[in-house]
């Protein structure tokens, strides 16, 4: 289920603008990798390039290699829609579908793709996904209620349940806790810890403590100035990154002495 991601000399462009330059990294299966760095340094762009979501913006393209278990995601004949079925994503702001119930939100991946399944199979999938997202107990009595009626933290866990219901190999999280309170944040962080047994998780966060708490590996992105491309400064085990990073810039950033 869980797969590795190999990135080699990846350049990401928006039109002629080079947004992220020369990223090389390997993300192992069943690990949590945190991407940290200042705003605008390209870590979200890089994250979105892993499931080709950045292509939603016209003119976006990449150079270099990005492979999932050796299979090039940008190879000829690879359908971005197929990539996104393998690489799920959770966004910064919880975004359940307002027209759907909690139940339908969880199986949205199937509903929207018109896949039919027996009622009991769907029921099982909904329960499994909601249990997987630690939300089952809170919503099991109101599955037919709209998903937008939940609290922000619950909505975010609903979105995670929706993402894991399509059984992806990799789960990307773009600042999943930045719109949540500390208690909901804790719930999501616990969940990330449980999910990593089944998925490869890549998480972008602005919260250094969060990166230290949840991740096994940390990558630090930086940007030299506005208009310059973002770069991966270094990547290592989280413990090493936060105690004795090899780069001065990393040390400055994680210790709060930036610039």
């Amino acid at each position: 289920m869980s797969k590795s991601i190999e990135v080699e000399n990846l350049n990401i462009y928006y039109g002629s603008f080079l947004a992220v330059e020369d990223v090389t990294m390997t993300i192992r299966p069943q690990t949590v990798t945190a991407l940290i760095g200042p705003s605008g340094c390209g870590k979200s762009t890089f994250l979105r390039s892993i499931n080709r979501m950045h292509e939603v913006i016209p003119g976006a393209r990449v150079e270099g290699k990005l492979a999932l278990d050796g299979r090039d995601l940008y190879g000829p004949g690879v359908d971005p829609v197929g990539v996104r079925r393998q690489v799920g994503m959770v966004f910064q702001r919880p975004n359940p579908f307002p027209t759907m119930s909690i139940y339908d939100n969880v199986i949205a991946g199937m509903r929207l793709n018109n896949k039919r399944a027996k009622k009991n199979v769907l029921d099982e999938l909904v329960e499994k996904s909601l249990r997987g997202a630690n939300l089952w107990k809170e919503v099991k009595d109101r599955l037919e209620k709209p998903g937008s009626g939940l609290s922000g933290g619950q909505q975010q866990r609903l979105c995670i349940a929706r993402a894991i219901a399509v059984q992806p190999d990799v789960l990307l999280m773009d600042e999943p806790c930045s719109a949540l309170d500390p208690i909901s944040t804790l719930a999501i962080e616990d969940l990330i810890n449980e999910l990593k047994t089944d998925y490869t998780i890549v998480i972008v966060t602005h919260n250094m403590q969060q990166a230290a708490r949840v991740s096994d590996y940390t990558g630090f992105f930086n940007i030299e100035g506005t208009g310059k491309p973002g770069k991966l400064v270094e990547m290592d085990e989280t413990r090493t990154m936060f105690s004795q990073p090899s780069q001065k810039a990393t040390e400055d950033y994680v210790s709060g002495r930036f610039g």
Partner: protein, 368 residues
Amino acid sequence: MSTGTEPETRQMSAEQRALEASLPSVAKKVGELPSWAPWGILAAAVVVVGGGLLLAGRGIGLAVVATAVVYALAVYLISRTVEGPRKATDRLVTVLVTTAFLIAMVPLVSVIATVLTNGVARFDAQFFTNSMRGVVGEGGGGYHAILGTLIITALAALMSIPVGLLTAVYLVEYGRGKLSRAITFFVDVMTGIPSIVAGLFAFALFALFFGPGVRLGFMGSLALCVLMIPVVVRSTEEMLKIVPNELREAAYALGVPKWRTILKVVVPTSVAGIASGVTLAIARVIGETAPLLIAVGITTGVNLNPFDGRMATLPVFSYYSYVAPGVPREPFIDRAWTAALVLIILVMVLNLAARLIARLFAPKTAGR
């Protein structure tokens, strides 16, 4: 909303009072007019100024205007002496805003009242069951015109709604660059074209194929289409634009292709607004007279086939009954008013339907 802000404003004024009490030298005037004061002043103005002018035989228009002016001045001056300049300005502006609203209401209420009083005379079962075939005086009705209006408008809606919806989807979801800008520009231009031009367009188009003088219900539908499409595009476009991008991204991230995302996420999320926009677009064209006058003409009998000859429609029926009445005049004039009344009721029903649709389809957010 109003219940939510009320305690806040009360709290604000309590704070202001506390502030004014603590700063007696700054806030000299802490008086407040009783809540009935504006009404009292209004009553006084009506009695003294309005009544006085009416008794002097100066006409009702002058009396009303003078009363309003005197009332505004009186409220401002009294409030200024008791409550201070800031409150006085607030009251003056309140009076001005209310007056503007009342002025805006005058034509509306006047039209409805006039049509109602004149139209109710023939608002009977016969009007809804009889056509004008063989009728020269009393009796007869607008049955043929009602059916004609419904058929022609339905046909116009049938043609404009798909075109309008798909154009809006293209503009919001796919269009970029020159083509999209050009479409937007021409849609804007089309919103403003006079309805007679649409009628002439349909007339000229069909004259090319069938020779001059041809009149069909379908030609009317086509003319209404020209008027309706831009309205549908505009309202649908606005509704699609307010669907948050995050929902589209959420669907893409689940591996849903773009067309399915549009069909199953974007459109359902905005369907309430789209449906009410479309209904309002129908209401906008159902009362069009000029294009139908040119393209469809009028007939006295029931014609249910929009591809065969002239049809009657309510606006044109009303118009012809008025400009070319028979002898005696009165039954024709009465029928004209009733046709207008039926038209207003149709538009009102469509508007109510739009609201109902908006409420029925709106995404449910309850259940927290």
